[in-house]
């Protein structure tokens, strides 16, 4: 029988016939098939050679007695010295990486908070922002550049004014009267005084 089925059956039977573990009738059938089928005969010869090659002694030469001695010595040890498995290394590595990331995150957080708190107030003011509330009754006052200090001093004393700010970039001072109730009157008197270029209540809306 050299049909495809016969060759398939022969292919399956070969390892077990070569092992000597195939039933007798299977061995006899294969022998008969091989007589008739050249391809299976070639295959069987190669399988026989493969089995022969695989049955050669190991190329690696180890002394069984030396190995046995080491094994017996190992049995005498109280506990097996187990080498750390690679699987155990991975969690430690992961934990170390997680810890490093956490430390970095905390550091960045602290640095950010410090920078935020240390940031100075902006030196400009937008038109939509409310200006700092002026002291009640305060007056902005711009004296003339030629006004003498003695005249300035005399005027402040005469009107009971006290300088609380200035001069600013344009030479304006902020003064407050002794009595806030008299602000309007004081402004009028200041405007009429010699050597005063500008007198305006500080809370006046432009």
């Amino acid at each position: 029988m050299t049909s495809q089925n016969g060759c398939t059956r022969a292919w399956e039977a070969m390892p077990w016939v070569l092992q000597g573990n195939a039933p007798q009738e299977q061995g006899e059938w294969l022998a008969q098939h091989l007589v008739q089928c050249t391809a299976c005969r070639v295959e069987f010869e190669q399988q026989s050679r493969l089995r022969l090659a695989l049955s050669l002694p190991a190329e690696v030469e180890l002394d069984p007695n030396a190995g046995l001695e080491r094994l017996l010595a190992r049995l005498d040890r109280p506990e097996r010295e187990v080498a750390p498995a690679p699987a155990r290394v991975v969690p430690w590595l992961s934990r170390a990486l997680v810890a490093a990331v956490l430390v970095q995150a905390i550091g960045i957080g602290i640095l950010g908070a410090r920078l935020w708190s240390a940031q100075p107030a902006p030196v400009y003011r937008t038109l939509s922002q409310a200006s700092a509330p002026a002291v009640a009754g305060a007056i902005h006052l711009v004296p003339d550049a030629t006004m003498k200090l003695a005249d300035w001093d005399a005027l402040l004393r005469q009107l009971h004014l006290q300088v609380v700010g200035g001069p600013n970039d344009v030479g304006a001072y902020t003064v407050i009267p002794a009595s806030p109730a008299s602000t309007a009157q004081t402004v009028e008197r200041l405007r009429a005084a010699q050597g005063i270029r500008l007198a305006e209540p500080a809370n006046a809306t432009p």
Binding site: A53, P64, G67, A83
Partner: protein, 194 residues
Amino acid sequence: MNDADTHDDATDRMLLQRMAAGDRGALAVLYRSYHGRLCRFLSRLTRRPDVIEEVINDCFWIAWQKCGSFRGDSRASTWIMGIAYRCGLKALRQHGDEPVEDDPLRDERGSAHDPGEDRELRDWLGKGLERLSTDQRVVVELVYGVGHSLDEVAVIMQCPVGTVKARLFYARVKLRNVLPALAGEPVTHQENVP
């Protein structure tokens, strides 16, 4: 299993029973009787002699610890080869990426006691097995080299019999396609599967 196998299995079981009772002499007998076949089996997984010895000793260390729980569901040799296979895979995972140190005495040693024909046969086999995956090499060794059945190989490799069949089939097809060429013969049936 033939008569010789049955006799061997009975001896192995008796040795395992004695080992379970703490008999180190029995361990020594079993160790020596399996050393050669384990060496050959493990040399299909790695070329490193130090790793092979380590695996053999790991295998018998486990056998010594567990022999009391061997229930005899399979042949003793199947049980021992299964332990060796698992220890071998573990060793491969640990040492697999380490470079293999070339043994300068290897060729000299091989040629010193190898008749020319054996040397040629080894080279031919080595080149053929290089084309197979680790699992395929293990199946080929267990079936053709050690003489296990498909069922036993399935127990050793802890996988379904169908998987073993498939591994053996593909290994044989690959070998059939490369071995004639390696032997300098014309290839008559490339990729022709029965």
